[in-house]
């Protein structure tokens, strides 16, 4: 078996809310491994910390403990839990993609550019970037008349597709997906599933949370089930 792209051991996340003097557990003792071309799906009840795992890997959250070993394109192993900010930003730009349910973008930018931008940032030409953006948007059934409009006014499902296209365009080595098909109609969801399969075939490692168990069944090579973290008193006892 080849060396994994991502290996998470003992990941934990607590939020220390100073104002309320509270410690909120969000993810507890998460272990998982993702290989190139494989999709690992995170399942578990609400509050089990599924999103918190993805955000910890992407470093939107600062992990409380554990190791997040990522093997980059050059073959170096980096602990994302410890990596410095510029290392993380470079990896986000070149290797690690994250598609969430939310899209933050500027009100004036055309959808086509919103999608093409990540490719420009890694040195693609404007023309080919827009061409590729168009291909992805077509593949996801986003009508061409919307391409020149800002996604600020789009519906949830339309935004989600823009977000996905934006996340897929650079063909990241590691892709984190947080319910990417949640607000799509079945036909569009089907197209998205095809795109994800396509990326996997190209060697992308995917760690995903899916809304529908059916999507998990179809795409996942492996399933990691998370349980809700124990109450903070239990965790503190464990540590002591």
């Amino acid at each position: 078996m080849q060396t994994p792209i991502l290996q998470v051991t003992g990941y934990e996340k607590y939020f220390a809310l100073h104002e309320q003097n509270k410690l909120i557990p969000s993810a507890h003792q998460v272990n998982l491994t993702v290989h190139a071309g494989q999709l690992v799906a995170l399942i578990g009840p609400t509050g089990a910390g599924k999103s918190s795992v993805l955000k910890g890997i992407y470093r939107t959250y600062l992990p409380s403990s554990g190791r997040i070993l990522y093997r980059d394109a050059a073959g170096h192993e980096i602990d994302l839990a410890q990596a410095n900010e510029h290392q993380v930003l470079a990896l986000r730009r070149h290797e690690i993609g994250f598609v969430t349910q939310f899209l933050h973008c500027l009100p004036r930018q055309a959808t086509l550019d919103v999608v093409a931008n990540p490719l420009l940032a890694v040195g693609g030409g404007r023309k080919e970037a827009r061409l590729r953006a168009g291909e992805l948007l077509s593949a996801m059934n986003l009508p061409e008349r919307l391409w020149s409009v800002s996604p600020a006014t789009f519906s949830g499902g339309e935004r989600q597709r823009v977000n996905l296209a934006r996340g897929l365009i650079t063909r990241p080595r590691l892709l984190l997906l947080d319910e990417p098909t949640a607000s799509l109609d079945p036909a569009t969801a089907e197209r998205v599933i095809e795109l994800i399969e396509n990326l996997k075939a190209g060697g992308t490692a995917v760690l995903a949370i899916f809304h529908h168990p059916e999507t998990t069944r179809r795409l996942a090579d492996q399933v990691v089930e998370l349980a809700a973290p124990p109450a903070i008193e239990e965790i503190l006892k464990e540590i002591a």
Binding site: H18, K55, R59, T60, L62, E85, L106, P107
Partner: protein
């Protein structure tokens, strides 16, 4: 990626200062005013790095010292202590040890500044075009025709109507004045740009267009920027990394999305919770 700016232990005290100033001020003391000598510790021990083409946010509320940081770096005010190194291609400049002629040269050629108050960035006695010409002249461009062409190109780029090139800034709207300021700051294509609350006080649609413009310019020219703002929306849209200041100190620094979604310091948590 190369470093363009390295700031170490920057401090700025207004007043004569005393031995107790530092320990009696800051977030713990809940003030920046020294109770012993009455000095204001506006900035203390601020350090950060800025890389080429990067946008760094400096956030905090009024009185946190965030504007003072950029004013020190742009030589509007002298720092009390600390060091800042500006890396410009093969050269490096130790900013606070330069003489005033060298500082002026850097301001005119290699740095740009856009202020919240357009009166600070623009000369209100001369036209929009004249403001840009002034900066081009200071950077050694002397040919009248070339200056006028360049001024027009810059104003067009920042979406100021060309028919208004010869109007005085006081006849412009607030948003338009900011565009002229941005055009002026960019005239010399500086690798480093300071933006101090540039969208504060503008109405929302104008704000959005100015932010768009700044991002477009950043993508085209790869200008490194330090963006000072109390507006978390601006921080989120523009910056990749940010530092949070309170009473002159940096209390938190990190990736922008991390600071907004997983703030560590009690003060940042309050700040973020009060908006989102």
């Amino acid at each position: 990626m190369n470093k363009i700016l390295e700031v170490r232990n920057l401090s700025r005290i207004y007043g004569k200062g005393c031995a107790l100033c530092i320990e009696s001020t800051g977030p713990e003391a809940d003030t920046n005013l020294c109770p012993h000598c009455g000095s204001v510790v506006a900035v203390h021990d601020v350090s950060f790095d800025l890389f080429e083409g990067e946008i760094l946010g400096v956030m905090g509320e009024s009185g946190s010292g965030k504007s003072t940081v950029v004013k020190n770096l742009y030589f509007d005010q002298a720092a009390t202590s600390g060091q800042a190194i500006f890396y410009d291609a093969a050269r490096q400049y130790d900013l606070f040890s330069l003489n005033s002629a060298q500082q002026r040269w850097l301001r005119n050629h290699r740095f740009g500044m856009v202020y919240q108050n357009p009166h600070l960035g623009l000369n209100f006695n001369i036209t929009a075009g004249g403001n840009i010409a002034e900066r081009l002249l200071m950077s050694d461009l002397m040919d009248y025709g070339a200056i006028r062409d360049r001024a027009k190109t810059l104003l067009a780029r920042t979406e100021v109507l060309l028919s208004r090139v010869d109007d005085l800034p006081k006849h412009f709207s607030g948003g338009m004045q900011q565009r002229v300021q941005i055009a002026k700051a960019l005239a010399t294509q500086p690798p480093l740009l300071f933006l101090d609350e540039v969208t504060t006080g503008l109405d929302l649609s104008v704000q959005a267009r100015i932010l768009d413009l700044i991002l477009e310019i950043q993508q085209e020219l790869k200008t490194a920027m330090v963006v000072v703002t109390h507006d978390l929306g601006v921080i989120r849209l523009l910056t990749g990394r940010a530092i949070v200041m309170k009473y002159g100190r940096v209390i938190e620094s990190g990736l922008t999305d991390q600071i907004l979604e997983d703030p560590q310091h009690a003060y940042t948590q309050r700040l973020v919770a009060s908006v989102l």
